[in-house]
């Protein structure tokens, strides 16, 4: 509340006091007095009336008027009683019988005249009569009494008013006026007017003290002013000097700001401050960087608007880190993607100045926002280069390893698949690396197409791809993935290959088959090689199971030993002569692979070699050895033919014509002395290719035989188109042909068919004379089997040929 003037305060108090006093003395007290006097008078009149009533009764009853005389005497001496009367009731009417004062004429007083009196009437009765007495007092007497009483009151009021007036005047002159004068002086002193005279005339001691104090104050202020002026002068001098220094500092600061701006601009950085109260960012930085955000240097951006620009994938983590930074003072260094233009995000590094523990959290938070987009994208490219395969665009072994460890850490379970392209080395060797690369790229495309993006696809090396799937897939899903891949890659006709690309896929699960990458990889590798074993030239898929590993190790070891054997020339060709009944001699031999000194079945050796490119080396060894044998034959055996077995892999991926011509040329042996045996499977997979190869072989004089005929799925049309020279009847139809009617009928049909097609027949596995005779009856003129000779090394063959050239019945 604003302070008020002492005059107004006193004025209000005095006015209120005066009003109260006037009201009390002139209104309330007189009214109360009048009321009191009236009540007293009426009481007195009642007493007199009562006495009168009694005295009248006494006078009438006792005939004693003494009391009445006393009453009269009393009333005469009492100025309050102005009138009195005694009335008797006779015959129902009231008649005045006596009045006081005598002859006052009560009966003649009008109603208005009676109103000038205060009247008290009391009844009385005696044994003989009744009546009433009336006592009255003139109201004028009452008013006179009131006046008499109130005059002192008015005198007191007047005296009081005079006293109050004197007090007010005294206060006004002695206190208020000096106080107001002092206030004005103090006000002027406060406003700096220190030259005025201070003359407050008063007989009041306290005001005199105040006046003296004001004088002292004025003097002190004057002294202080003089001192201040001196100080001010010094201060101005100092300010002038400091202003100069400040201007210099400002210039330097401006230059620093310019340098800072240049630095910020060159580093594509923004400095931000965050108002915690208003939840707003304020950015400072190079204009170009600010404009990148659609901001200017005055821009205050609400937190929610910044968050709206954050990429949804990194929004939650940013909120979490930023909140921790603000509340806990934790370090803030977070890469975020911000939408700089609609739909386009750039990478930024958001850092915050650490806020020490205990600092007032309501203060501004500071930090920087550095444009890391270019660098981040370069890093991403470097990362991708480090983690991806350049040729296929899939991940590489590093990414594969990381993906596996991440899957183990996060999901705890998954499936690891290894898949490679069957006979890829053959593709590379026969079709060239460009074709091999096209196959790899095509297969990678199929993998990307068929495998969900959440899984990691990586090229581990060569034609081997690894896939990390987490969580684990069930067997049905894995089989489904395999089928899609198999069909997808087999359909690719743009690779320049004659045969469809096939794959081998092995899968292992973790943690069931191990928890470290090496163990799980080994399991998947084992499964993949198991698939290769079962593939029969096509695609195959296998899931790892315990026990598979031991077999794989065995076969792996066997491959190593075969390689060693090849290197050490431990492998040999043995030859089994083929009897010609029409020529009555052995005109040809079949070269059979043998590994002397090793107990491994030779078919196991061949199957194992077929699982890899080893078969090509083995095949080449066979052709080379066969030609060397022919070259070494004496002249009398210059018409001997040698048949060699060609595996489907060798047939498709090794240039047989070139190989045969090579060793034919090296050994100076006519290629027409070589007969190759292929199985039905070889041309079933791609009859057109087989046809093409066979034509080229035929062109150089090489004869061709279908081996193990009847066990596969060849068609007569294929036989016709392929221009086959010989069909070798599988031993299954030869054994017991003399007793087995069904075998007999089959062979009989084959004979007729071969006659129709102009293809020669060779029966394999002839072991008894009875079988030989039946076959001869069926006109199968060429026979091979233990009945005639067992396979033998080349040195024994020469001796056999000399000794038995015309004695077919002698078996070795």
């Amino acid at each position: 509340m604003a302070p008020r003037s002492i005059v107004s305060k006193l004025g209000v108090s005095v006015t209120l006091g005066a009003v109260f006093t006037i009201a009390l003395l002139l209104v309330v007290v007189p009214i109360q007095q009048r009321k009191l006097l009236r009540e007293n008078l009426i009481s007195e009149l009642e007493s007199i009336a009562s006495a009168l009533s009694i005295s009248v009764q006494f006078a009438i009853e006792q005939e004693n008027l003494g009391l009445l005389a006393q009453v009269n005497s009393f009333m005469s001496g009492n100025s309050d009683v102005t009138i009195a009367g005694i009335y008797l009731i006779e015959g129902g009417a009231s008649s005045l019988i006596a009045e006081f004062p005598p002859n006052v004429g009560l009966d003649n007083l009008s109603k208005d005249q009676l109103a000038d009196y205060l009247l008290v009437s009391l009844p009385f009765s005696t044994s003989t009569t009744s009546g009433r007495v009336l006592v009255g007092s003139a109201r004028a007497n009452l008013e006179e009494s009131v006046r008499r009483v109130q005059i002192p009151l008015y005198v007191a009021f007047a005296g009081l008013a005079i006293v109050f007036g004197l007090i007010f005047v005294s206060l006004s002159r002695g206190v208020v006026t000096p106080m107001m004068a002092s206030a004005r002086i103090a006000s002027r002193l406060g406003s700096g007017d220190l030259d005025m005279d201070i003359d407050i005339r008063t007989d009041n001691r306290e005001v005199q003290v105040l006046s003296s104090s004001l004088v002292e104050l004025r003097d002190n202020l004057s002294a202080a002013k003089a001192e201040n002026e001196s100080l001010l002068k010094n201060l101005e001098d100092t300010v002038e000097a400091r202003t100069g220094e400040l201007n210099t500092a400002l210039a330097e600061l401006k230059e620093s700001f310019q340098r800072l701006g240049a630095v910020l601009s060159s580093t594509n950085s923004l400095i931000w401050s965050f108002d915690r109260i208003r939840d707003e960012f304020h950015f400072t930085g190079a204009t170009s960087d600010l404009s990148l955000f659609g901001l200017d240097s005055q821009a205050n951006v609400a937190l929610k608007n910044i968050l709206q620009r954050v990429h949804p994938e990194s929004r939650d983590i940013l909120i979490e880190r930023f909140t921790a930074f603000l509340i806990e003072g934790s370090e803030l260094e977070q890469h975020v993607q911000l939408e700089t233009t609609p739909g386009q995000y750039r990478w930024f590094l958001l850092t915050g100045v650490p806020i020490p523990i205990g600092t007032d959290r309501s203060e501004l938070a500071l930090g920087s926002l550095v444009d890391m987009d270019e660098r981040f994208r370069q890093e991403q490219r470097i990362w991708e280069m480090a983690h991806s395969d350049e040729l296929t665009g899939t991940g590489n072994r590093t990414q594969f390893t990381q993906a596996f460890h991440e899957a183990v850490r996060r999901e705890k379970s998954g499936t690891l698949m290894l898949v490679d392209i069957n006979d890829f080395k053959l593709i590379n060797d026969t079709k060239g690396h460009l074709t091999g690369d096209k196959v790899l790229i095509a297969f990678a495309e199929e993998l990307k197409l068929r495998i969900p993006r959440a899984y990691t696809i990586a090229r581990l090396g060569g034609d081997e791809f690894g896939i990390v799937i987490s969580p684990a897939l069930d067997d049905e899903s894995l089989a489904s993935v395999f089928k899609e891949l198999q069909h997808g890659i087999a359909k690719r006709s743009d690779l320049g290959l004659e045969v469809p690309v096939s794959i081998s896929l092995g899968a292992a699960s973790f943690p069931e088959n191990g928890m470290d990458l090496e163990t799980v990889m080994q399991a998947a590798d084992t499964a993949m090689y198991q698939a290769k074993r079962e593939k029969l030239g096509g695609s195959a898929f296998s899931l790892f199971h315990p026990g598979m590993d031991a077999e794989r190790l065995t076969r792996s070891a066997l491959r190593s030993r075969i390689e060693t054997a090849l290197h050490n020339n431990e492998l040999e060709l043995w030859y089994q002569p083929i009897w010609s009944s029409t020529q009555q001699g052995f005109l040809s031999v079949e070269a059979l692979l043998r590994w002397p000194g090793d107990a491994t079945p030779i078919q196991t050796v061949i199957d194992t070699a077929e699982e890899s490119e080893l078969i090509l080396r083995v095949g080449e060894f066979v052709i080379e050895s066969a030609f060397q044998m022919l070259a070494a034959l004496p002249s009398y055996a210059n018409d001997l033919l040698v048949s060699v077995n060609i595996s489907p892999v060798q047939f498709h991926y090794q240039d047989l014509v070139e190989l045969i011509e090579k060793y034919s040329s090296l050994n100076r042996v006519d290629p027409s002395r070589l007969l190759i045996e292929i199985t039905e499977r070889t041309f079933i997979e791609n009859s057109e290719l087989a046809q093409s190869i066979l034509r080229r072989l035929k062109a150089i004089g090489v004869q061709v035989a279908i081996d193990d005929f009847g066990t596969g799925y060849s068609s007569l049309n294929s036989l016709h188109q392929l221009d086959i020279d010989w069909i070798k009847i599988d031993r299954a139809f030869v054994t017991d042909i003399n007793t087995d009617t069904q075998s007999y009928q089959i062979v009989n049909a084959l004979v007729k068919m071969s006659e129709a097609l102009g293809i020669g027949l060779i029966a394999e596995g002839v072991e008894t004379q009875a079988e030989r005779e039946v076959l001869e009856r069926l006109d199968v003129t060429r026979q091979q089997g233990y009945l005639f000779a067992r396979p033998m090394p080349v040195n024994k063959l020469l001796a056999f040929m000399v000794e038995k050239s015309h004695s077919p019945t002698v078996a070795v």
Binding site: V56, A59, I60, E63, N64, L65, G66, L68, A69, V71, N72, S73, S76, A84, I86, L88, I97, A98, E99, F100, P101, P102, N103
Partner: protein, 136 residues
């Protein structure tokens, strides 16, 4: 004064009609009382003897045999009018308080005790007293 003549005539009539005489007696000497009007004294209009002594009026009480007679004699024939008259006088302060006597003996005793008294009695008073009037 016509009303006085009338009053006297009425008194005469009444006295004549009374069965017994009434005596208005005082202890004052006769020379003092003869000049006074009995009517004036009994109605209180004359309140002092010639020598200035206040007259003490003794009226017959309502138990007195002369109650009605006195009323008839001086108060228009009504004893109650006599009572009211004296009540009015005393109340208005225009007369001294009268004494009421129930018998002649009391009247004589009053006379003996108060020489300024004037009483009404039915017998002849002793000679020491002065009969101011005899009413019949």
């Amino acid at each position: 004064m016509p009303w006085l003549v009338l009053a006297m005539a009425l008194i005469c009539v009444d006295v004549t009609a009374a069965a017994a005489d009434l005596f208005v007696v005082t202890a004052q000497p006769s020379q003092l009382s003869t000049s006074l009007d009995i009517q004036e004294i009994m109605t209180g209009r004359t309140r002092k003897w010639p020598d200035g002594t206040p007259i003490v009026v003794a009226l017959p009480s309502k138990e007195s045999p002369y109650f009605e007679d006195a009323g008839k004699a001086w108060f228009d024939g009504s004893a109650s009018a006599m009572q009211r008259h004296w009540l009015r006088l005393v109340f208005s302060g225009r007369a001294n308080v009268p004494i009421y006597t129930k018998s002649d003996e009391e009247a004589i005793a009053i006379l003996e005790a108060n020489p300024a008294a004037i009483v009404v009695m039915g017998i002849e008073p002793p000679p020491t007293f002065n009969v101011m009037a005899r009413l019949n």
